[in-house]
């Protein structure tokens, strides 16, 4: 009998759809790719709070305000689930934050676009969260246990996000002429960046095959994007809004909607740091982190002092 190598054992777990857990042996590349993917996702949740946070104080009603607060709080929670999943791979929270703050780690480029009207909050919930759900549902069955479990939690909570966004869009779309215009304008501005959320076309995504093999990606970028287009066209009809892409057309043969070309130059440019809000987002995040430092230190000092006092009392 030959003894399987670590690599063979790992491959056989992957092939049999058995979950990999933190203490199991795993190839370095698998670990590295996971840390990058999970932390990028976590960073996106944290930065993703900023464009919406912008409207909390100006939500049109108390109900909308309570809902938006709850949604933003969920995003903080999602960031925390994901950071702790990444930490099980042997990277510390401080290192992850450092990578975000230094610009070494990326977050979803969608959050580098501004939220200029209340309708943007509707469009974000409907489109951005809709695209995120499309991306995330298959990840509930990803091969790395802590990541899959975090995604199950995230997906359970995410569908309220999309519904509240759709509800805002519906209210505006059925409202006055001005309100309908606001909704259409937000749709026009968020549509293309939402499509870019699925990443570059498959032909230009060299790591896809390896990630699919490892089950840390379950569908390709283009497959997910097509799914998103197909459902969104139907939802736009319900809203009575026009698709921002004039080339959208049902293709009987494929059983999917055809769509126009995506401006990948814009995408690359935003990823590189030249989007409308890249600098503002990162500055806001770094400022919040720096200004919270004394609170974190004080809490730790307080905890240490209390522990010392308890120990002294016990010894006495």
């Amino acid at each position: 009998m030959t003894v399987p190598t670590f690599q063979e054992h790992f491959d056989s777990l992957i092939d049999r759809e058995v979950t990999i857990e933190p203490k199991d042996w795993m190839p370095d590349d698998y670990r590295k790719t996971l840390i990058r993917q999970i932390s990028q996702h976590a960073h996106s949740e944290i930065i993703g709070m900023l464009p919406e946070g912008n409207w909390i104080t100006r939500a049109p009603t108390l109900r909308r305000k309570a809902v938006l607060l709850a949604k933003v709080q969920d995003e903080a929670g999602h960031g925390l689930y994901l950071y702790s999943a990444a930490e099980t791979l042997g990277v510390s929270r401080d290192e992850l934050y450092e990578q975000l703050h230094s610009g070494k780690a990326k977050y979803s480029s969608i959050f580098n676009y501004p939220t200029t009207s209340w309708a943007d909050i509707g469009a974000i919930g409907w489109l951005v969260d809709g695209a995120a759900i499309m991306n995330q549902v298959p990840l509930c069955r990803t091969s790395y246990g802590p990541y899959a479990r975090a995604m199950v939690r995230v997906c359970k909570e995410e569908s309220f996000h999309q519904r509240q966004g759709f509800e805002i869009m519906l209210t505006l779309a059925k409202g006055t002429e001005v309100q309908k215009k606001m909704a259409q304008d937000a749709f026009n501005r968020w549509w293309w960046p939402s499509l870019m959320m699925f990443g570059p076309p498959d032909a230009e995504s060299p790591n896809t095959a390896q990630s699919v093999r490892w089950r840390i990606k379950r569908l390709t970028n283009d497959e997910l994007r097509q799914k998103f287009i197909d459902v969104t066209v139907e939802q736009a009809k319900v809203l009575g809004l026009d698709m921002p892409d004039k080339d959208i057309k049902w293709n009987e043969e494929r059983g999917h909607y055809d769509s126009g070309p995506i401006n990948w130059e814009e995408f690359k440019n935003v990823v590189k740091g030249n989007g409308p809000c890249n600098k503002q987002r990162l500055d806001t995040r770094k400022k919040a982190w720096a200004e919270g430092e004394w609170v974190r230190d004080a809490a730790m000092a307080h905890a240490d002092k209390r522990k010392a006092r308890q120990q002294a009392a016990k010894a006495a």
Partner: protein
Amino acid sequence: MTKDIKAGKNEWPLWEVFIRSKAGLDHKHAGSLHAADAEMAIENARDVYTRRMEGVSIWVVESKNIIASDPGESESLYEPANDKIYRHPTFYNLPEEVKYM
């Protein structure tokens, strides 16, 4: 749960969170979080893991205090139970006439 973490120097300690979802059920591992002390860990666990009434009781324990078995040793660790199929009721053949047992 984590091993060989390169902890940041000012980082709050890591805690593991266990939640009882309703009376009568076991506490189940929910995930982990950072907190300065146990009291803060409970409050953070409430905010992070029970925003939708997912729990009626929370346990927290500092991650460094958890001792875990080594998956590399699974074979020898679980070996004693491996050949004792007679511990399962299905091992025993009963006559047809015995309907409920």
